[in-house]
């Protein structure tokens, strides 16, 4: 049986359909939070951002040093596993938080960490700022959101490939290919204004230059070791980013204007919350992106009465996600409908 797929391109026919349906740049539901509470939650502090960044960089440095020392022995496997995960996965939430500009009071610190994390994630920093703006405008709106990670019907091969960032790195290589010849890809042009083209092109060229330099270094010393430290960790260290990232929206509704229906908040332990910068409070983040990551647990307390039930663990979220994705292989119209306070069941159907 063939299963018809929607077009998830943001420059295809679904784009006009989303606009015609009033789903683009629309007003989204927001929980009512008293202004004084919001003012307190939105406050920026340097302490948590500096502390968490230093811990992350220290772990990256120590694991990298151990990986270098163990090169050529079996010990390099666990060492590179840790280093790669800190490089290719933990950088994702840093990219995200510092991209929003909310993590710290210091503009230069925010900019430096954002660019550093963007490179580790192999995401050309300028265009990805704008991609993520669109993701927040039109979250999981088919034809408009460029960051839909789980198109329907489900492709398990694509998901497995993403554990090694194969699809996303290839997509980024194509985008940077445009940058190298002084252009911006047609998809990026849809969400990034012309005033950012130059910065995007040069950022892409710098990434290409760094990667080319690493390849040349490997050739000169006849060893893949430099690439194991710079570049390749984006791929071999990607797994945790996918594990966390899939909990955000996978299997939930498309084309709705209420984040409580298309986004998950998942309870995580303190280690995962550090590695993921509290992005497990994902509904709260989408609803109130001005709240920095260290205030999301308090925001959650302020709005939980108006939220769907929290998933008690990552495993609990996957007990819903995997069957939903399996069903979406055959039935792309299927989604998990969440029970939301004050909203009648079936309202997103």
């Amino acid at each position: 049986m063939s299963v018809s797929a929607r077009d998830y391109s943001i420059i295809g026919p679904e784009s006009q359909r989303a606009k015609d349906a009033g789903l683009v740049s629309a007003n989204w539901y927001r929980c009512d939070v008293p202004r004084d509470t919001m003012k307190s939650l939105m406050k920026r502090r340097n302490g948590p951002a500096v502390r968490d960044t230093l811990i992350w960089l220290a772990l990256l440095g120590v694991s990298g040093w151990l990986a270098h020392l163990s090169w050529g022995t079996w010990w390099m496997i666990p060492a590179f596993f840790v280093y790669g995960t800190l490089y290719g996965s933990v950088s994702d939430s840093r990219w995200h938080e510092f991209g929003h500009g909310t993590a710290s009071k210091s503009a230069w610190f925010t900019t430096v960490v954002y660019h550093f994390a963007s490179f580790l994630d192999f995401r050309e920093a300028e265009s990805w700022r704008w991609s993520h703006v669109r993701h927040h405008s039109d979250t999981i709106i088919v034809g408009s959101d460029p960051e839909i990670a789980v198109p329907r019907p489900t492709s398990w091969i694509a998901h497995l490939a993403e554990f090694f960032a194969i699809r996303s790195v290839w997509a980024e290589c194509k985008k940077i290919g445009y940058n190298i010849v002084g252009k911006v890809s047609p998809t990026v042009r849809d969400y990034m204004p012309e005033s950012s083209y130059r910065r995007s092109i040069w950022t892409g060229r710098i990434y290409a230059l760094i990667i080319a330099g690493v390849v040349a270094w490997c050739i000169v010393i006849r060893s893949v070791e430099p690439a194991m430290f710079i570049g390749l960790p984006t791929m071999y260290g990607r797994w945790l980013l996918v594990v966390y990232g899939l909990t955000q929206h996978a299997g939930l509704a498309e084309d709705v204007l209420d984040h409580r229906f298309n986004t998950r908040t998942v309870r995580m332990n303190i280690v995962n919350r550090f590695l993921y910068s509290n992005m497990n409070y994902h509904i709260e983040h989408h609803m109130f992106p001005t709240v920095p990551y260290y205030s999301l647990p308090a925001l959650h307390e302020a709005v939980k009465h108006d939220m769907p039930a929290v998933y008690p663990s990552i495993a609990a979220a996957y007990r819903e996600i995997i069957p939903a994705l399996r069903r979406q292989m055959q039935d792309p119209t299927y989604f998990v409908e969440r029970s939301v306070p004050g909203v009648a069941a079936g309202s997103t159907a």
């Binding site: 007003n27 919001m38 909310t102 703006v133 405008s137 992106p289 001005t290």
Partner: protein
């Protein structure tokens, strides 16, 4: 061209380093209090998408839009951060008899 002076609220109706929304006819404004006694006014909606800036975050003379974290200089309306590319219109303010007025 000078406009009409519109009464917004009492001076203490806006907390220090905060913003309130002021609607007049079919127009909407954001009126700010910076520090103890400086008042500023801008258009009320973000130039990127129609979000009310009065729900945003005021910090050091900058207003951050609640929807996408776009930033504007409160006093000049100038864009100060992605995704804002177009500035806000600003309006003169004055305080008289404990009341805040804007000229719009």
């Amino acid at each position: 061209m000078s406009g009409t002076w519109l009464e917004v609220c009492g001076t203490d109706d806006i907390d220090a380093d905060d913003v309130v929304r002021f609607d007049h006819g079919d127009r909407t404004f954001a009126v700010y209090r910076l520090g103890k006694d400086r008042y500023c006014a801008t258009d009320g909606l973000c130039t990127h998408e129609d979000a009310h800036l009065a729900e945003g975050f005021v910090d050091g003379g900058i207003i951050e839009c609640p929807k996408h974290n776009g930033r504007f200089d409160i006093c000049t309306g100038a864009p100060k951060g992605v995704p804002v590319t177009v500035g806000l219109r600003t309006y003169p303010t004055r305080v008289e008899g404990g009341r805040v007025f804007i000229e719009a």
